[in-house]
Amino acid sequence: MTVEVTPTTFTYVYFDSAYIARIAQRLIGLFHLENHNIRIDVNETTPLAKMHIEFGDPIVINIQSGAFEDFSRPRQQSEPATTQSLGRILLKVRDRLSPEFANAPADEDLTLVQVAIWETYCVARLSRHDIDINRQRWLYNFRNRHGFNDASDRAFEKIWNSNDLTWEQLQDISNTAIALVQ
């Protein structure tokens, strides 16, 4: 297993590639992804925080700099933000490699609702690894995609408390919540 981070030296932000690699290695161990080579490409020209996976050898994770940033100290790296962002995307990598998620659409074909349910599922599992997560932030995101109502909150709770869902089960929880208010 190798972990590579590019660029090795940052010019737009004050990030540390070795620090990013160390955090990634810890998470890779935690999620049993040691059999894969991973490269993390940080796009430091934008403050946005989008992430994207390209499967191959190595598995390439494209991350915009906002995903690792301390928003209270612009351009500085945040250890919690780096851990949370890498944790989310690596859990998504693990899901994608498993047969339970074989039918999940490609990233570019995911709807905003599908992105929200998958992210909720990822951060919920992260929170059970002693990684500090602001649950309300993700509940707000879920409500933005499913509506501000009880059915939406029940669906969120169900996903938040689950560990072994398939893509179809995730979709089913989401669809039920949306159908109940239509």
Partner: protein
């Protein structure tokens, strides 16, 4: 009590980290792309944006710290000038009423931030708003704070109110709508007092309007606010009209904002060329 309080001495607890406009300008990154396809270029804070929730949370925190500084600015105007000689009593009464509104807005913003999953101090506090309130002429403060700053608040609240409306978040929609109504009143106070005090002093009025233009340009820095969908915040023409801006004044701000956006795009192209 001390008069004319410098921005560096604003009281904040350890949760806050303050940055200046210089800090912001030193950040060469930008969300604005040179890709002209509408789906790629749009940055407006709307629910259909992929990172809508986080973008709205960041803007909400910006509103929260802006309200604190607006409260501090209006409060200073009540205190810094001698009643009757430098500022009419009725003007101070309006500023006192504004303090009351801003204090309420701070509390509403904290509750909305909780609701959206943000923490106080999660984002940096740009102190540019209070800096606009440090002039030693009350008329310049009215132009810089009530017309430029509160004008921006109208644009921001309209963007957030529409966000809540489309997302179905009634708390956000209603709270922003109520605060928006107050901001329209604050801008109108500024417009009315500016006209009244400088009625027979065209030079002072010009100086105040020039100062407002400088502040408006600062608030448009990087194309943050304009009528283009490439800007995160839109220009709320209708509510600005209600606040006393005439069409020509709104056109000037629209042009200025668009110029700031184009300036930023040119800088992005230049930086990309240098990077490659």
């Amino acid at each position: 009590m001390r008069k004319f309080f410098p921005v560096e001495d604003l009281a904040r607890d350890e949760r806050f980290n303050q940055i200046t406009m210089n800090d912001r300008m030193a950040d060469q990154r930008t969300a604005i792309t040179t890709d002209s396809r509408p789906s790629r270029a749009a940055n407006r804070i709307v629910p259909s944006r992929g990172d809508a929730s986080d973008a709205a949370r960041g803007l909400m925190h910006g509103i929260f710290v802006g309200e604190i500084q607006a409260l501090e600015g209006a409060g200073r105007t009540c205190w810094d000038f001698t009643t009757g000689e430098e500022a009419p009593f009725e003007l101070k009464l309006d500023m006192a009423r504004q303090c009351w509104d801003e204090a309420r807005h701070v509390e509403i913003s904290i509750k909305l931030s909780d609701w959206m999953g943000s923490e106080i101090g999660e984002y940096a506090e740009n102190t540019v708003l209070f800096q606009a309130a440090c002039s030693n002429d009350p008329v310049l403060r009215l132009a810089g704070v009530n017309r430029a700053l509160e004008g921006l608040a109208i644009d921001v609240f309209t963007t957030m109110k529409e966000f809540g409306e489309v997302a179905g978040d009634q708390y956000l929609e209603f709270a922003e709508d109520w605060m928006l109504a107050d901001e329209v009143t604050h801008v109108k106070m500024g417009s009315d007092w500016l006209r009244k005090i400088t009625e027979n002093d065209p030079e002072r009025r010009k100086k105040a309007l020039d100062f407002q233009s400088v502040v408006d340009k600062l608030f448009s820095y990087g194309g943050t606010r304009s009528e283009s969908q490439e800007s995160p915040i839109g220009l709320a023409r209708r509510f600005r009209e209600l606040a006393g801006f005439d069409d020509q004044e709104i056109d000037v701000i629209a042009d200025l904002s668009l110029a700031a956006l184009e300036e930023r795009k040119a800088a992005v192209l230049e930086a990309q060329a240098a990077h490659n």
